[in-house]
Subunit: 159 residues, 3 copies
């Protein structure tokens, strides 16, 4: 796309809902990204793109996003979602984003992300300069969703 | 993305096909969106974007679309897909799009969309100014698909 | 989107990985598209867009891509992924892309793509001027992925 990505922002949220799609919508709202359009990407942080706190994004904006979401209709079940990124030593190289969702605790989700990022850097022959993981867990009452996301943003996406 | 969404258009279609992917392709053709590239979004109608009748879109255009599709290879089974949108009283706020697909009748699919939109507005604390649902059902002969979609369009996407 | 697609490029790859997501990431790297952001599309080749050898794409670029990926954690299983495109006689009309993934050999995957493309052209009432299929198979050791993709590119996506 012609969009010039100049920053990224990570977030996570969890919620109950009347249906799995409403639980997903409510988790997006809890994460602060419920009123934009997510376009799912697989999952590269472009070179020299800083990861910042979630800014105010235009309502309805089309935002390329790496995300993981887990919904469950099993009361009592603990579900988790996590995303993480790692940035290489070489600023000319891209970073990598990994996602995880499942019936798991937050700690287990984070462990998976770390392992996946480590392998991604090992196979690329790059050293990790910076690595962060964002995760959330949710214990289901009736219908629940756990969601974690890294959005790729352009200046014109912000309010 | 840099695309400026200025209108949206809803449509629905159903078809048989030789494979599930061909049934999906044929349902897209029946819906009038079989020769464009759909990019799946989750699922916001930007503020002040009217929903119009499906216009003529450039062949191969990249079109952000909220859609639901149900395919089935069980002869005799009735499947349905639906999308709906609701627009709030406040024109500065965004609308919401919801999708449903399943082994269901058209009436059941529509009921689900209404309930999901109502919850989405309740949690956002907005009143519904306008709400519409687009749905289709299909009784499978061999391999069938039911599909409903709301496309987000820019002026330059049109012929 | 405002992106002007001027060329397309097909590729395929397969790999093992420590997790299914890493196997997918490694298959993308093997295919030469592991350091870009794929945006999944369904699946039209715009008119007069040539399919070329994979060029060097900017790291982290957002690239609309029709792709098929099959992952498996069953040692000894043979999995395959394929994509193919067909272009019509009439240069003003769009081409079609089809994807396949499954527990299958490469030959079976290719046979499926040919059949799907033939049906897509039959229902559109177009004659095939050019047709090509790109496929790969992988026999799983521990966790494997087979992937095939056709990327839609703009001039500004290239290095």
């Amino acid at each position: 796309m012609t969009k010039q990505v100049t920053m990224a922002a990570a977030t996570a949220g969890h919620a109950e809902g009347g249906t799995t799609l409403n639980a997903f919508d409510n988790a997006l709202l809890a994460a602060g990204i419920g009123n934009i359009n997510l376009i799912k990407i697989s999952s590269i942080l472009p070179p020299e793109v800083p990861v910042i706190d979630l800014p105010k994004i235009k309502l309805g904006a089309l935002i390329p996003t790496a995300y993981a979401a887990m919904t469950s209709e099993t009361p009592g079940e603990t579900i988790a979602a996590a995303v993480g990124y790692a940035v290489p030593d070489d600023p000319a190289k891209n970073g990598v984003i990994m996602e995880y969702h499942g019936v798991a605790t937050r700690a287990e989700a984070e462990r998976q992300i770390h392992a996946m990022l480590d392998e991604a850097f090992r196979v690329r022959g790059e050293l990790v300069r910076e690595k962060r993981v964002f995760s959330v867990e949710h214990t289901v009452e009736r219908v629940g969703c756990a969601l974690a996301a890294i959005t790729l943003l352009a200046d014109e996406d912000l309010v």
